[in-house]
Every structure is written in C-alpha cells, then in structure tokens.
C-alpha cells in the first residue's frame, strides 16, 4: 500500500494526468456546448475519431501542425452540421442521429485512412507537437516536470475552458445558447432564430470535439490507428452530466477521470502481481460511475434538451 501512495508523489503521474485529461476536456466542453443549446450529440465518439484522423493526415501530407488543428476543427464542424440538419432542422431523434454520426464518422475515417495509405502495415508517423521549454519554470524540481513540460496544444486545451466560460456567461451569444437549451420559445419570442443558434452551437461544439481527437494523434502520440478513441467520447458524454452542464466542473471531472486512469496504469505495475490487470483497467470507470451517481442526483438538465423546436407548428 505504501507503494500506491508514492505514485502521487511522482511528477510523472501528474504529467500523465494532464496529458490524458486534454482530449477529455475538449470533448466534454464540446458536448457541453451542444447540450446547453438543447442538442445531445452522441456523434462525439465518431467526431473525435474523424478529428484524430484528419488532423494527422493533414500533417502527414505535408501540412503544418497548427493548420492541421484548424482542418480537424473544420471537419468536425461539418459533421456537427450534419447532426444539426437531422436533429435541429428535421427534428429527428437526437439519439439515433448521434449514433449514426458516430458510425459514419468512424468508418469514414478508417476508410479514408486505408484509401490514402493502402500499403502500410506499421502505422506511419508524423512529427507531433513538441514539449516547450519554459525558461525557469520547466527547470523547477517536481513542478517543472509535472506542469511545465507539455506541448503547446496541452496548454491550449486548458486555456479553452475559461474562454468558453466567458463566452457562455458573459456574452449575448452565450446567453442565446443557454436560452436555446432552456426555452426555445423564449428565443423565438425575442426575435432570434432558434435553429441558427442551435446549429451554431452544435457546429462549434463538434469542432472542439474533433480537436480533442486530434490531440491524440498530434500531441499525445504521433500516429493514427484503429480504435484510437476507445470510448473517450462516451466518457465525455458522462462527464457533462457529472459536471451538471458547467464548464468549470467539466474541467475538474476530466482531470479526476484522467487522474484515475494515470493511477491505474501505475497501480498495475505496483500491484499487478497479486491482482489481475483487468481490475485496474476497470477502476476509472467504476469510480466514474460512483461519482456520477453522487453528482447526477443534483444535476439540473437544460430543460429543452432533446426537445426539437419546430417553427410555426401549432403550439
């Protein structure tokens, strides 16, 4: 047991937590924006996959890293627009459309990957974002390695949270998004088009999800392979509920889950001899479910979540 506690004292554990948290932060914030506007986006798993593939492919074909991120965001937004066409404009089931988008986007990613790189057996690699050395800070003992030895994209992921908080709670467009998830009729009665607001939110949220996926191929690793996202999208959907639809809590939730994940890898090494490793793989999920049960009891749903708005229909 002593060994287990020592894990928390290693800088490597904290650095890993931050790395693992990044895609979850972007995915959760993206999903949160969609749901705050009243649209559940279960396409997240696929949109993260397509983001991971398209950002990576852009760089592999000779593009540079930052435009690669923009491209991943653009492709993610396209799938967001598709989801919005089905759920916002046609008012179809958000569950069905979301699952469909996930299947379409995942398969399409693998298909395009295979089409463009038919012969490769070992996954080809790119040169990903490199950790930046901050003079002074990076040389600090412990904190230097834990906090200040990350890639610029990692810092970007954390910087997005306060930006989203500001936009959601301090600007007119943020108010419109929140209102769209609470009472679409109230927006309509104030002369704003509900469908436009919802579409914009879904596209923006999907772009963030895609960038979250791209983090995996462009910052955490250097290659794209099948099953890469591995359920991270679904974790994000759960984290939104865990966070009660608040971006600050979403950041905490993502860090908590990432911490558990980083812990289980290290715990395997410490205690793997006596306990089957599957037990540790399961741990983050079991603890997330427990945390969800506690948090979600007080969760306050956006009232119009899952409710399509049809203009001009008999009220």
């Amino acid at each position: 047991m002593i060994d287990l506690f020592e894990i928390f004292l290693t800088a490597g554990f904290w650095a890993a937590t931050i790395r693992i948290a990044c895609p979850l932060i972007l995915g959760t914030i993206g999903e949160l924006i969609c749901e705050r506007a009243g649209v559940l986006n279960l396409g997240i798993e696929g949109i993260m996959t397509v983001g991971a593939m398209s950002g990576w492919m852009w760089v592999y074909q000779g593009g540079d890293l930052w435009t690669g991120l923009v491209f991943a965001a653009f492709v993610g937004a396209l799938f967001g627009l598709l989801h919005s066409l089905f759920t916002v404009y046609l008012g179809l089931s958000q569950h069905v459309s979301g699952i469909g988008i996930t299947m379409l986007a995942s398969s399409l990613s693998f298909f395009v990957f295979r089409m463009m790189l038919p012969s490769s057996t070992t996954p080809p690699k790119i040169v990903p974002f490199k950790p930046i050395h901050v003079p002074g800070l990076s040389d600090l003992p412990f904190f230097g390695e834990a906090l200040f030895s990350h890639t610029p994209m990692t810092y970007l992921c954390f910087a997005i949270v306060p930006v989203v908080i500001y936009v959601l709670y301090r600007t007119p467009v943020g108010l419109a998004v929140r209102m769209a998830g609470e009472s679409p009729m109230a927006i309509e009665a104030q002369g704003i088009n509900v469908l436009t607001v919802r579409t914009g939110a879904v596209a923006a949220g999907s772009a963030l999800m895609a960038v979250g996926g791209a983090y995996l191929t462009m910052s955490a690793f250097d290659a794209f392979y099948f099953g890469m996202i591995n359920g991270r999208g679904w974790i994000c959907v759960a984290l939104v509920i865990f966070a009660s639809w608040r971006p600050g809590k979403a950041l905490l939730g993502a860090l908590l889950f990432a911490g558990l994940d980083a812990l289980q890898v290290r715990a395997q090494q410490v205690a793997g001899a006596f306990i089957p490793y599957q037990f540790f793989l399961m741990l983050p999920y079991v603890l997330s479910i427990a945390a969800m049960v506690i948090m979600a009891r007080r969760a306050r749903y956006p009232k119009a979540l899952l409710v399509p708005f049809r203009r001009g229909e008999r009220i």
Binding site: R170, P172, V173, A189
Partner: protein, 513 residues
C-alpha cells in the same frame, strides 16, 4: 391614428381553418378586446401578427408600414410586443437575462448589463411595476412572471402590446393590478390587444370588442354599447341557456378527509398540508384556488393515485386502508381528470375500448375470469354512447379524433354510468364551447339530484358560483372552510386565494349573523 391594420388573414392547419379572412384595425391608445371561445382562432391570429406563424393569405400593416410575414424580429422592431399565454421565459435564467436576450448584437464581446439594468429600472418606475432583475425566473410567482413578460415587451419599446388570456392564471386582486398597469400604458399612448373569453373583464378594460367564432370575425361592438348577454350571444352565436341549479338538502357524508398530508418533492413543503373536508350526498363543493396550490395532488389522492402520509380518508363511513385506482372505482368514485387528452382517454385506442376501460373486470364484459367478451363490450359502449350523446362517426375510431366536448362526454359516460356516490370533477369544462359546457354541467346536476356528492375543481369562479352549493379555497395545500355561495363574494375568494384562508371564517360568521 391607426396603429395596426390586419387585412384578410387566412390560416389553415391541415383541414382546420383556424383563421378565415379576418380583418381588424387598432387605433393608437386603444384597448381592443378579442373575444371568442377556446379554439375560435384568437391566439392563431396574434401568433401570425407576432410572426410565429405565416398566414396563408392576407397582410398586416403596423403604423402604415407593411410587416414581413413569419419574422418575430421584424414584428418586435415594428413595435409589436406579445405577452404569451404560456410565458416564453426560461426558468433557470435570471430576469435580466430573459429580458436582454435579443436586444444586443449576438457577436458583441460583452453584454452591457449595467445599461440594461438602468433602463429596466426606469421602465419599472415609469409603469409602477416592481422588478428584481437578479432573481431567477423559476423563483417568481405566476403574477411576477407575467410582469417580466410584459417588461420584455416594454424593454423593446413596444407600441402595440398583445396580451393572450393574461388573467387566466391570476387572482382577482392581481387582475386589478394588471388592469391598472394596462391603463397607465394606454395613458402613455400604447395600444393594447386583450384576448379573453371572460366577459366581465372585457367589459371592464376594453374600448372596443371584436368577436371571433370558429375562425371567422363575426362582429364588432363598442364596449359602451355592449353588455354581458349581448357579448355572450355574439361569442356563442345563439342564446345560451344555463342549466338550472336546484337546492337539495345535503344528505349523509360520502367522502371525509381528515387532516390529510401528502409530502411534496424533497426539500419542498407538503403539497397537501393537513387538509380536512367533508362532502355530502346531494352536494357540489366548489374548490377555488390559483393553479398549483395542491389541486392536482388532491385530485390524485381522490383518484386513488397517491397514498396519504398521514390523516385518514373515509368513503361512505368506512376509513380506507389501501389506495389504488381500482379500489376507488369499486367504491363508486367517478373521476373526471384535469387533462382529457393526457389522463382522460387513451388517444390511440378506440372509443369503445376507452368506454369499457373502468369496467373491464365485471360481468358481462369479463368472461371465464380471463377473456373479454367483445360483443358485450360493444353493446355496453353503444348504450353509453346513446345515453350520453357522444357524437362519433363510429365507436371503432380512435378516441383522440373526438372533439373536446365529445371526448369529455365519453369520460363522463364512463365515470357516471354506475351512479357513483362521489364524483371528482377536475376542470370538467376547460377548453369546451358553451354548448358542451351546458351538457357537462347538466350531467353533473343530474348526478347531484341522484344523490352523488361532487367536488368541482375549477379556476373559473363564474363556474363555481353557477354550480356549487358551497365553495372552499385551497392555498399552499391547506383548505378553507367551505362557505355557502350565497354568503361569499368574488372579492372574498380573491383574498382567500391570495393566502388569507382565515378570511373565510369572517365571511361565515358574517353570514351566520
């Protein structure tokens, strides 16, 4: 000066013509009442004016300029404001947020809340309305929410204010307050369209009345020249005969509630809080109260849907031990639920299936203890349809295709066919036209003559005064003593509905003296 001109507006939903070639005009500083029964097309017309709907034909002019169809922002910019019957407010946002939404460019970097606050305060002072900008809308009372809804329109500098059934959810005192506000607006040159089917309110507030019936504009009259009967006749299209109420001496108690408590949601006060009430044979007790004060919980209790946490419920002298809808049916309790479509019928099942649904386990419908005898069921249903005059093309059609009045007759037929000893009538005529209202009331009075005790829950005080022998008021789950209709006035009930239940005692003592 003409503020608004509507010319030849027609709007259909499928085969239903909701508005048929309607024209009207509104002068500056005028209160125009739009009178009509439920379903006459008043709200549809206003939704077209405000841009929620697009009219099939016809055009609208506001202050001389044509109004583009189907655009709420254009209507707002032209100076039209609407107070919707179902408020368009988000409960989980603050009053200020609800009001400033849409007033700024969506892509501004910051909401200018300080300026908004100042403007709101100025408006509130001008019109004598109290507003707390930082409260959550969900925390406000219904009357306060309506003020926010009105303030939303004023904040957008509305010159024409549409109020859709604004008094339906208010106590009489709140109505007086609203009318004062409306008069101060008119004094400042605003024009108002006031939608209602309550005649006394229209006579009180309006300058001119336009009457709609079944989607058509059927008449216009200056309020000065109108009276109640004239307006009622215009609205309904014929003379309205109200059923006669006869006074019968009440008999033995049929339902006795003693100190009943139903707990509310966690962290909230009980929805029924120590309620005691006795209803006798040959008696109609009216239950008045602002919506949401425990009426539906009481109805659930008397339908067998909820079990009290404490207190006792007695039926015909016996104290009940178990609560279930089936037990209540077997005890001879007829139930007319509040929401016809939602709880009264199963819309997708046929008329006859709905008619037999409470009697399924009784011979002759139920044979060999397991099988339904379809012939017997249809015969049973046919008999009820004739007896209660349910008008349907065939008893095989889905119940949801019945008109509101006929659906209610179906429910009455099912509830009354066994001569129940007690009838729970929860808003039995809401949304019905005058003919159907008279039919429902007639049935209830017949049941009373036959010995039933009836609890009539209604938000329409006129209905209670017309039908009930005694009226009780429910407020925050507590109930007042029932007072004889001859002793109580609308003002008394208003005070009690606003929370002063003890006022009932004063009234009763006054009557005794």
């Amino acid at each position: 000066m003409t503020a608004l001109k509507i010319r030849g507006v027609t709007k259909s939903f499928g085969s239903l013509v909701a508005n048929d070639n309607i024209s009207l005009s509104l002068q500056k500083g005028e209160v125009l009442a739009l009178l009509g029964e439920n379903g006459a097309g008043k709200t549809t017309l206003m939704n077209i004016l405000f841009g929620h709907y697009v009219a099939d034909t016809g055009d609208i002019e506001v202050f001389g300029n044509p109004l583009p169809p189907g655009a709420t922002d254009a209507a707002i910019n032209a100076g039209v404001g609407m107070v919707h019957q179902h408020f368009t407010l988000a409960d989980n946002l603050s009053v200020l947020e609800n009001i400033i939404l849409g007033t700024e460019s969506l892509f501004a970097w910051k909401s200018n809340t300080d300026q908004a606050r100042r403007k709101l305060q100025t408006l509130a002072d001008d019109f004598g309305m109290q507003i707390e900008p930082d409260k959550w809308v969900g925390e406000l009372s219904i009357g306060e929410r309506q003020r926010v809804e009105i303030m939303k329109a004023l904040y957008r500098d509305a010159k024409i204010l549409i109020l859709d059934e604004p008094t339906a959810v208010l106590t009489p005192q709140e109505v007086d307050h609203l009318f004062e506000t409306l008069r101060s607006m008119v004094a400042r040159g605003l024009s108002i369209i006031f939608i209602s089917h309550k005649l006394h309110e229209i006579l009180n507030i309006s300058d001119r009345v336009n009457v709609l019936r079944r989607g058509k504009m059927v008449g216009e009259i200056e309020t000065k020249k109108a009276d109640r009967n004239r307006l009622a006749e215009m609205m309904v299209g014929r003379e309205v005969k109200r059923p006669k109420v006869e006074h019968i001496t009440a008999g033995a108690p049929v339902v006795e509630l003693d100190n009943v408590v139903l707990p509310g949601a966690k962290g909230h006060r009980p929805v029924i809080d120590g309620l005691s009430l006795t209803i006798h044979q040959h008696e109609i007790i009216g239950l008045a109260g602002v919506a949401g004060n425990g009426q539906s919980a009481l109805a659930d209790l008397l339908s067998g849907l909820r079990t009290p946490a404490s207190g006792t419920v007695g039926v015909a002298g016996d104290t009940l031990a178990s609560f279930s809808p089936q037990a209540f049916i077997n005890l001879g309790i007829g139930r007319i639920p509040e929401d016809r479509q939602e709880k009264g019928v199963v819309g997708d099942m046929t008329v006859w299936e709905n008619l037999i649904s409470e009697n399924l386990r009784q011979a002759p419908l139920w044979r060999y203890r397991r099988l339904i005898d379809f012939h017997a069921c249809r015969a049973f249903a046919k008999n009820l349809i004739e007896q209660f005059d349910v008008r349907c093309k065939s008893m095989e059609m889905p119940a949801k295709q019945l008109s509101g009045g006929n659906m209610q007759k179906l429910i009455l037929a099912r509830a009354l066919q066994n001569n129940p000893r007690f009838i729970l009538a929860n808003q039995p005529v809401r949304g019905l036209d005058e003919g159907a209202i008279a039919a429902v009331h007639e049935r209830l009075l017949v049941a009373k003559r036959n010995g039933a005790g009836i609890l009539l829950v209604s938000e329409d005080l006129d209905e209670l005064f017309a039908l009930a022998d005694r009226i009780a008021v429910i407020y925050h789950g507590k109930i007042s003593q029932p007072i004889s209709v001859n002793a109580v006035t609308v003002q008394d009930l208003g005070l009690m509905m606003a929370g002063d239940l003890a006022h009932g005692l004063t009234v009763q003592q006054g009557a005794a003296r």
